[in-house]
Amino acid sequence: MPQSSDEEALLWLQFKNGDREAFAAIYQKHSISLIAYGMKLCPDPDLLKDQIQELFVELWHSRENLSPTDSVKFYLLKALRYKLIRQEKNNAARIGMHRWSVTLTGIHREEPVETSLIEKEIHESQMALLRKAIKELSLRQQEIIQLRFYQGLSNEQIAELMNMNYQSVSNLLYRALCRLKDLTRMPAFKTLLHFFLFA
């Protein structure tokens, strides 16, 4: 699904040279990721919309001065984070990460590959548990879960993005996963899991 880094680098260069189509393609590819991440940092959808819009306008206008990159998504995530945090500061608000309730949509769902009804049921109850558990995490833990699993970033990239050192990121991830592990542990669930795996 993702382009190779060479293609990414090329697209970015074309955009830097003023190619509007390349710019549009970049936007298409990454806007959803940016919205997803932005929501974690900025609870107000109108404000987020403005910020992302501004970001891209700024990118377009300063395109000649931007450095080349072969990881456009990462670059954009960083730029957005930087921008959103600045925005918070300028509003004299503390950086509180606000809760954003993530709801599922039926669109674009990757159909899970399940062969039996029981497997399907097990999976759905697992998802429900996970969904509930994620909401129990601290916002920073939620942020790292998103960056890692939805955005697909490595620990090193997350460290850079969140301006933490590598060990702190590992710790944060470990605690987030431990918490999820504990929260999703239910006797009934375990039995079903056992059944699923050994049936």
Partner: protein, 386 residues
Amino acid sequence: MKNLDNEIWELLQDDQFIKWVHSPDAGSIAYWEEWMKQYPDKVTTLFKAREIARDLAYMEKPDGAEQLSATIWTGVLGQMGEETHRKISGKAIHGEEERAGARSGEAIALEVKTVRNRRTWYAIAACLAGLLLIGAVFFRYRSANRPAAVIGAQQVASLLGKEGLQRTNRTTGNQEVYLVDGSRIVLQPGSSIRHAAFLQKDRREVYLEGNAFFEVAKDADRPFYVYTNDLVVRVLGTSFNVATDQHNGDVTVLVRTGKVSVSKKISARQELVLEPYQQALYKVATRDLIQSAPVRPKGASAIIPVAPAIPFNFEEAPVVEIFKTLEKAYGIPMHYDDKTFSACVVTTFLTNETFEEKLKIICAAIGAAYRIDDTGVVIEGKPCLR
């Protein structure tokens, strides 16, 4: 059963695994194929972990994102307009600064003393330069969290003497240092600054030898002065670069954001007020201070040095490590008892606060108190409970 569970959560922490699940390439596919051959009994675990990873990803997909995306794009298209007049729309939080679209002039071939993106810093430095440009151009105030490069220790040689603090960059790369008011300075190799450690007077003063980029924290009550041998640069809150020619000692001051005034030490009468992208040149031979041709934005970004950022975000970090980071960043010696604080662990995300605010926050977290004397900062407190 328990082991099975743990294996899954172990996999979730493996970067290699994430790559395979999220954006598999030839390398990762091959790797996990091999792994499955080696551990056939763990294959189910692997796929179970993948399922969980996918579920976690799936839950992050925002509601109504497509709609929002389309709306945003319409807005972007509307503002992409013409190239010549780069005005930012009034809605922007950063307001005032109007890009110098009307400024002409060829790209000045300045003697660029800055260290260009060192490729040894991966692409991080390159991204930083881009961000710095965006940040400096569009925002008036000093920037906040910088992505940190994962690099080893920096050595800041600093001396706390009677005249204050002297900090020299003895490394071969650029170095980021902070002042207690929150100002940030990027020192180029071999350059040094001298200043009162706690900037207590009614003005903030820094003596510079060499080349440095300054991002001055806003403090209207205390103007910021940078002195070179012959020049005085006065600022309120802004960012600018000072470069000294190694051969003839000529000094160039280039402004990125805000306004600075440059004058000769000996005579305050001739004062140049510079705005973004404008620069002044002081020629030692003739003792002339002139305003030289402004730099195009493209040229300006080449002059701003990039330095690996000091990470101020800590997750369950031993407080001793935090003290060490502060010491490195501010050059002010921290005195504390290692043993007393060895069990103290802090999670905190510090950014733009002044040095003292940072101290207050950390001390509050560990139930300690700090005091400042002429040896630096002394931290006293009780041991933390595990």
